[in-house]
Structures are given as structure tokens and as C-alpha cells.
């Protein structure tokens, strides 16, 4: 049985000053690479947009390890959705050639082996498709440092350019709730284990079904459902996206 959910809250003590709409306009003006130009050119919703009107794209990377400087992306899953519907038929999944050798340890995690990847394209070959799948949408991830770090590193390596995009981090939302609340302070003082904010454990708290982990598309779907659940329980669908994105 999952622990009971905390009471709803309407505000988050996070930076709400980011205006990704304006930032995208700037980046669009500066971008040289046609794919990035097209991506930024598709624009971004304004920070005032209510959550219920925001187009989202849940994204997940499977990687050879945790360090963007030493490890590489092996697969990418993207699932477009809104608060009303997860548009699974429009989801995308790519295997990509890691530019660094696969580590044995990570193979056991995601079950993608070298032989699977010998036919796979390089990220640069699917970059325009990937950016098109994300265009105009707010990216949703569980633990943003992985997707942001690896995406930036991969583009630095190939284009000598970074990429910036707004992210809603479902793990951050759980962390705000369970790691930084006065309740969790008490738990720590009492010597209890902190509440797990891993994807599967977070989902269980919202009574979402168990999905087998460590597949990019499955995990992207899992975080899309998790965000729908978090918003249903914690926030008003009229809350501006500016309060949630990072």
C-alpha cells in the first residue's frame, strides 16, 4: 500500500521568473543551424498559459551511464500529451549510435546491446525529427539533469552548439513535496528513511499501474501519466505554466 498523498498545494517555491517565450525568440534570432532555427522558430507558450492549455512532450533518454561528459545516449522516447489526453499514437522512439562504447553495467539496465545499435543512426541523423517532435511543446522529464545534460553534451559534440528548452521535472515536483517540506524534516529528525522519489515509487503514490522500467518510451509515457496525476492532485489546471517550468 502506498503512503497517503499529502494535501494539495497551489504554489511552488520555485523560480517563476523564467520567460521561455522571450528566450526562444532570442535563441531563434541567434541560431545558425537550420534544425535549431526551426525548433526555436516554432516558439513557446507564454508563462501565463494555464496548464490545461499547454502542449507537453514527455521525453526520456536511456544512456550508457550517468555522466554526460563520459557516457552517451542510446535511445530516446518522446510522448506528446496535454492535461486531457496522452497522444500515444503520435509517440516516437529512436535507437541512436552512442559515440562512446557501451559499458557492460548499463547493458544490464536497458537491455540494448552493441548488436542492436550497429544499424542505429547517429543522433545527428534523427535530430531534425526529434526537434520536430518537441517543437512548441514543454518538455516533461523525470530527473531533468539527465535529459538536459545529455542533450546539451550531444549537441556540443556534433554542432558545437548547446540547446536550451523549458522542462517540467516530475521528480522535482515530488522532491518539493517530500524532501523539502516540514514533514520530511520531521522524518529526518526521527531517523526515518526519506520518501523515495524514483519514477516507479512516485507513480505508486498516485495509484498508477506498474510499468517495466528502463525503456525510453515506457519511461516517457510513465512520466506523462505521472504529471497528469500530480496536476490532478496538487494543482489547479488554471495555474500558469510559468510556475512549474524550469
Amino acid at each position: 500500500m502506498a503512503p497517503p498523498l499529502p494535501p494539495p498545494e497551489q504554489t511552488l517555491p520555485i523560480d517563476t521568473g523564467l520567460d521561455w517565450q522571450a528566450r526562444f525568440a532570442q535563441l531563434h534570432a541567434q541560431a545558425r543551424d537550420p534544425r535549431l532555427r526551426a525548433y526555436y522558430g516554432a516558439g513557446m507558450v507564454s508563462p501565463q498559459t494555464p496548464l490545461s492549455d499547454v502542449p507537453f512532450a514527455a521525453m526520456d533518454f536511456e544512456t550508457t551511464g550517468l555522466n554526460p561528459q563520459r557516457h552517451a545516449i542510446v535511445s530516446i522516447g518522446v510522448v506528446p500529451f496535454t492535461l486531457q489526453r496522452i497522444q500515444l499514437p503520435q509517440s516516437r522512439h529512436w535507437l541512436v549510435q552512442p559515440q562512446r562504447p557501451l559499458l557492460k553495467q548499463s547493458v544490464t539496465f536497458h537491455h540494448i546491446t552493441d548488436s542492436d545499435l550497429t544499424q542505429a543512426p547517429d543522433l545527428s541523423d534523427i535530430l531534425s525529427d526529434l526537434l520536430q517532435a518537441l517543437a512548441g511543446r514543454v518538455v516533461v522529464v523525470h530527473h531533468r539533469t539527465i535529459e538536459r545534460g545529455f542533450f546539451e553534451a550531444a549537441l556540443q559534440l556534433r554542432l558545437g552548439k548547446s540547446i536550451e528548452f523549458p522542462v517540467v521535472d516530475t521528480m522535482e515536483i515530488e522532491a518539493q513535496r517530500h524532501r523539502q517540506s516540514s514533514m520530511s524534516l520531521w522524518r529526518r529528525l526521527l531517523g526515518r528513511r526519506p520518501v523515495s522519489i524514483r519514477l516507479a515509487d512516485s507513480r505508486e503514490r498516485y495509484h498508477l499501474p506498474y510499468y517495466p522500467p528502463h525503456h525510453a518510451l515506457m519511461d516517457a509515457l510513465a512520466s506523462a501519466e505521472l504529471l497528469q496525476a500530480q496536476i490532478a492532485h496538487r494543482y489547479d489546471p488554471d495555474l500558469p505554466i510559468g510556475r512549474l517550468w524550469l
Partner: protein
């Protein structure tokens, strides 16, 4: 196929009806699923919402409600909902709420319909949870209508207000004012507390003020003593039908033998503001045929509304017949006011669909006059001829077209004293000539509308007593009941009309409701039933066990389903500003209607076979 689709497919595979699908179909479904999360307590489907997907519960649980908020059903993982709205091609009738945190898979309407068409097991599963498709289609409709699911005792909110019969009019009026009621029950003074009468606001106006009675007159002098009451466990619509039938606005409500309250017209109109009762109360204030004709659009609107509110055909048929009766009564009142009081008592008789309480929006007038036996044609017929002409013309002005077969009181043959009418019926029954019966069988559905209703009742009794003892008569009637066949071909295909004007369509009256009520009439007369309405006749038929092992439920469901499709298409015609008729083109039917109509027509076909066998009717005759 991607991993998340495999996950979805494997989940679907565990539950009916998806467990019956081939891998190929399962893959198609899994690839198209969309998803949404609903927190416990949130609404998934609202009443009246447009729906574009079948809903599949991936995890969690939901509750389904009737539109009046009553609990209907609880569903959990692997179950589906929303299929009825999709099949009927209409908005959500049963709202759904998540009672646990719930994840819903959406299966698009287009794919749902393909599955339904291609996969028999799937189609059967989503349509029914009991063995009869037709039965569930009929029940589903009725459960949606509040008038048919609410019991009368729900409307009784206050204590009974009553006064002894010796009380004066002023005391009664004072009590009604203090209690804020528009009717008052009058009780006996023998200590039994029995209800002996009722007075209403209207009585105080028409029977007291208009007549200039003194305030000290006892209430017993003006009360109506033939009180029509209704049991407290009756449905609201039954109260409505009773009011329509007897043209009263207040009904005492009884629990066992004790009166526990009064239900008024306004209590029911609150349920339905455009109700047929409301129109009936207007009819009685109109002063001419022209003024009455002005109410026709409202009558049509009431019809459309009842259809859209999922009223059953008995309710629609009775309500429309009630309106027709009220038009007739008012025309007779107006005619009498002009022509003077009748020289001898008479009964104005309705025949056909009005008598059966099965009237819809387009209908002929079928009527007759039964006169007192003191009737002398030379002296009196001029009066009754004029009376009949006024009613007939007035009805025509109100949209009830003249009867092409001349079954109208304006026809001297159908304007006769009671003794002649008795002779007519005796001759038809004793010396049946199928050809003669063809024209006169319409009189085997008859009802007194106005005047000496007892005349009509004595004719009904004569028919019921005599007909069942005359096998030749029943056989002749049975033969006529086989004249119109249901429009089904050998391979369960629809057979279209071939009369030129309506090629490529099916006449639901001629091919459906009419042959069915013909069959039912034969059985009803064979078992001595005095009922006129087909559904009531079926109850008597079931009690008599005349159908052998069958209780006639299939006949009732078939009649109900065809009648409702007919009503629905007439309502659509009216809403679209077209002239309503009884013809439907199969391509304008939903798949659901098509399938169930075929089932219903098959019921008629079997019923006719049974009749043919029972009465040894050979084809050549």
C-alpha cells in the same frame, strides 16, 4: 510495434471482450490508444457530453450514475464504458465518476465501430449483459427517463390536508389558503376517515363563485365524489397518464388503503415543463377550432421532447392520445355550446390508435357516435350530424386528417344508437366475412371519449364475451392479421417498399407496429381481454397462457423497439422542419437500430407463423 503498445495489448488481452480478438485486431487497438488520468472523485463523463471514444479502465475504479444521480453500476480494471452513447450515436446519458485514482485508455469511436461490425463476439459483448439484445435495448432507454424511474411517493412532501364533509365552503377555502394547497380532500364523518371527495381551486371558481353559492354551503355539495386515486408506488409517468386520461389535475395517493397525500399537476410539470399535461390544461381554455389549432406546434414540441427524453412508446402513445382526446372533448363542448344540449344522450367514440393509446404525431381521425336508444333519426339526426361535422372539421384543423375509409361520425353508418351498434358487433363476430372485417376491424379497438362512456364500455364487454367463443371469427381476424408482412428477406436483409414514392425505405407502421398490434388483437380477443392498449393486452395474454410456453415478452419488446424508432425518426423530421412520416431509409438508421430492428421484425414474422398455425389459416383462404 513499440514496447508501450505491447504493454497495452497484453493488458487488453486479459479482459473480455478483447480476449476474443485476434492478435491483428489487438495490435490495431493497442496502437491507437490514448490515455488520461482521473483523480478519485473527479468526473470522467458528464451528462449530455459528446463522446468520441470507448473508455477502458486500465487501473482504478469508477461509478456509473443515472441522470437523476442514482447509482447504477460500479466498474473496475479491464471494464469498458461509453459504448451505449457510441452505439446510439448520441450524447452521454449515464455520467461516470472516478471513485479511485483511475487511468483510462481511450479507444477511438471509428475503431470501436469497425470492431463492432467485424467481430461478432465483440459486438455481442458490448451490447448486452443479458441474453436478449432487444430486451436490453428497450430497458436501456427506459432507465434514462426520470418520469419512468421516479416513484410517486418522492413527490409527496407535505402532510395530507383534509376537512370533514360538513365543513362550510368558507372553512374549506380558509384551510386551503392557510396550508397553501390547491386541492382539499373531504373525509367522511363516520369516524372511518375514509376519503369521500375532493375539491380544487377550480371548483371554488366554477362551482361556487360562478353559481353564486353561499359561504355556508357544506363542501359536500360541490365536491367531486368519484375520486380517482393512485397507489404511492406508481411511477410519475403513470400519474401523468391517469391525469391525461381523466382530465383531472389532482390525484389522491394511496398507500394500501390509506390516502397519504395528493399529487398535483404542478408537481409533475416540475418534472417536465413542456409536458403534454400542460398542453391539455391549455386546450380546455380555447374558445374555437382556430384557437385550438394554434396549440398544434406545442403538441409537436411535447412529442419531440418526450422522444428526446427517452420516454417509452406507451407513454408517448398515451400522451399523444390524451392530447387528441382533449382536442375532441373541447370541440364537443364548443359544439354543444353552439348547438345547444343534445336531444338524447350520446357517447363519442374513438377507434384505432387513439382508442389503443398508441397515437403518434401523424394520424387519421377514426371516430363514431353511439346514441341513446331513444334516438329518432327524423327528429335528432340533424343535430348529431352537425355535431359530428364540427368535431371532424375541428380535428382536421388540428392536424388529424379525415379518415380516407370514412370511419368518422359524419358517416351516418357510424352514427347509430347503441342497439344498432350491438347488432353490428354481433354480426361481425357471428358471421365473419374477412372482407367486411378488413374495414370494420378498426372498431375492435374502441374507447369512449366524451358523454355516456358507459355505452362504449358495454360494447367492449360484448366484444370480449362473444369473440372468444367464435373460432371462425378469430380465424378470419387472424387471416387479416397476416396481410402485412414484416420487411425481412430470406437472408435477414431489409425488403424495401415498392410503391414508387417511398422506394428504398421501410414503412415502420405498415410493416411493423400495425401487423404486430393486429396479431396482439387476435390473441387478446381470444382470451377475453377487455384491454385496448397493446401492452395491456399483452399482460392479459400472458396471464391467460394462450401463447403456450411464451409469455409474450418478445412481442412487447419488438413493439416497443419499432415504435420508438418510428417516434425517433418522426421527431428528427419535426426538428429538421420536414413533414414527418412513417418511412425510414435503412441508411439513416444507426447500426444499432438496424440490428435490433431485424430482431424485432423476426419476432413479428414468428408471431405470424404461430398465428397461421394456431388458426389453420391457409394462404389462399
Amino acid at each position: 510495434m513499440e514496447v508501450e503498445q505491447i504493454e497495452i495489448r497484453e493488458h487488453l488481452r486479459r479482459f473480455a471482450p478483447f480476449d476474443s480478438l485476434t492478435d491483428e485486431w489487438l495490435d490495431r487497438v493497442a496502437c491507437q490508444v490514448e490515455i488520461a488520468y482521473f483523480k478519485a472523485g473527479s468526473t470522467i463523463l458528464k451528462f449530455g457530453q459528446e463522446i468520441s471514444d470507448l473508455h477502458y479502465i486500465r487501473s482504478g475504479a469508477v461509478e456509473v450514475y443515472r441522470r437523476n444521480g442514482n447509482f447504477y453500476n460500479r466498474q473496475a480494471e479491464g471494464e469498458i464504458f461509453g459504448q451505449w452513447a457510441l452505439l446510439m450515436g448520441r450524447a452521454v446519458r449515464f455520467p461516470v465518476k472516478a471513485i479511485e485514482d483511475t487511468l483510462i485508455y481511450y479507444i477511438k469511436a471509428e475503431l470501436f465501430h469497425k470492431l463492432w461490425e467485424a467481430q461478432e463476439v465483440f459486438a455481442d459483448f458490448v451490447e448486452i449483459d443479458d441474453p436478449s439484445r432487444l430486451r436490453s435495448a428497450v430497458v436501456e432507454r427506459e432507465q434514462n427517463n426520470e418520469l419512468m424511474t421516479s416513484r410517486l411517493d418522492k413527490l409527496l412532501s407535505r402532510d395530507l390536508v383534509r376537512v370533514a364533509q360538513s365543513a362550510t365552503l368558507q372553512q374549506a377555502a380558509q384551510l386551503m389558503t392557510d396550508e397553501g394547497v390547491s386541492s382539499l380532500l373531504i373525509s367522511a364523518e363516520d369516524g372511518s376517515n375514509a376519503i369521500v371527495g375532493i375539491i380544487t381551486d377550480r371548483d371554488l371558481r366554477t362551482r361556487v363563485l360562478a353559481k353564486g353559492l353561499g359561504y355556508d354551503t357544506p363542501v359536500s355539495a360541490i365536491m367531486s365524489s368519484d375520486v380517482i386515486s393512485i397507489p404511492s408506488d406508481a411511477f410519475v409517468f403513470e400519474a401523468m397518464l391517469l391525469m391525461l386520461r381523466h382530465n383531472v389535475h389532482h390525484l389522491p395517493v394511496k398507500q394500501r388503503d390509506e390516502t397519504i397525500g395528493v399529487v398535483g399537476l404542478s408537481d409533475i410539470i416540475r418534472y417536465e415543463s413542456q409536458s403534454s399535461l400542460y398542453i391539455v390544461s391549455h386546450i380546455h381554455h380555447r374558445q374555437s377550432a382556430e384557437e385550438l389549432a394554434e396549440l398544434v406546434p406545442e403538441a409537436k414540441a411535447a412529442f419531440v421532447r418526450m422522444v428526446n427524453e427517452d420516454a417509452n412508446s406507451h407513454m408517448i402513445g398515451s400522451a399523444m392520445a390524451g392530447i387528441g382526446r382533449s382536442f375532441t372533448r373541447r370541440l364537443l363542448e364548443l359544439a354543444e355550446a353552439e348547438l345547444g344540449p343534445p336531444p338524447v344522450p350520446y357517447c363519442f367514440l374513438a377507434a384505432g390508435s387513439m382508442a389503443r393509446d398508441e397515437q403518434f404525431i401523424i394520424t387519421d381521425q377514426d371516430n363514431a357516435l353511439v346514441l341513446d336508444d331513444r334516438f329518432d333519426p327524423k327528429q335528432h339526426d340533424a343535430y348529431f350530424h352537425q355535431l359530428a361535422a364540427r368535431v371532424s372539421d375541428g380535428l382536421a384543423a388540428c392536424g388529424y386528417s379525415y379518415c380516407k375509409g370514412g370511419i368518422m361520425a359524419t358517416n351516418p353508418h357510424w352514427r347509430q344508437p347503441l342497439s344498432v351498434w350491438k347488432q353490428y358487433f354481433t354480426d361481425w363476430i357471428d358471421k365473419p366475412d374477412p372482407r367486411a372485417l378488413l374495414n370494420s376491424s378498426i372498431f375492435f379497438d374502441l374507447d369512449g371519449v366524451y358523454g355516456e362512456v358507459a355505452f362504449a364500455d358495454s360494447l367492449k364487454r360484448l366484444v370480449a364475451d362473444r369473440a372468444r367463443q367464435r373460432p371462425l371469427f378469430l380465424a378470419a381476424l387472424a387471416r387479416n392479421a397476416l396481410n402485412r408482412t414484416p420487411p425481412l428477406g430470406f437472408f435477414r436483409t431489409f425488403v424495401m417498399e415498392k410503391d414508387g414514392k417511398h422506394n428504398n425505405s421501410i414503412n415502420l407502421k405498415r410493416r411493423g407496429t400495425a401487423p404486430l398490434s393486429d396479431v396482439i388483437r387476435v390473441h387478446a380477443l381470444a382470451c377475453g381481454s377487455i384491454a385496448q392498449n397493446s401492452f395491456n393486452r399483452l399482460k392479459d395474454i400472458a396471464d391467460s397462457r394462450i401463447l403456450g410456453h411464451s409469455n409474450g415478452d418478445d412481442l412487447r419488446d419488438a413493439l416497443e423497439f419499432i415504435a420508438v424508432v418510428r417516434a425517433r425518426h418522426q421527431a428528427l423530421d419535426i426538428e429538421a422542419g420536414r413533414e414527418p412520416d412513417n418511412n425510414v431509409e435503412p441508411e439513416h438508421l444507426t447500426q444499432f437500430e438496424r440490428r435490433n430492428l431485424k430482431d424485432a421484425f423476426e419476432v413479428i414474422s414468428n408471431a405470424q407463423k404461430f398465428l397461421r398455425m394456431r388458426y389453420q389459416v391457409n394462404r389462399i383462404g
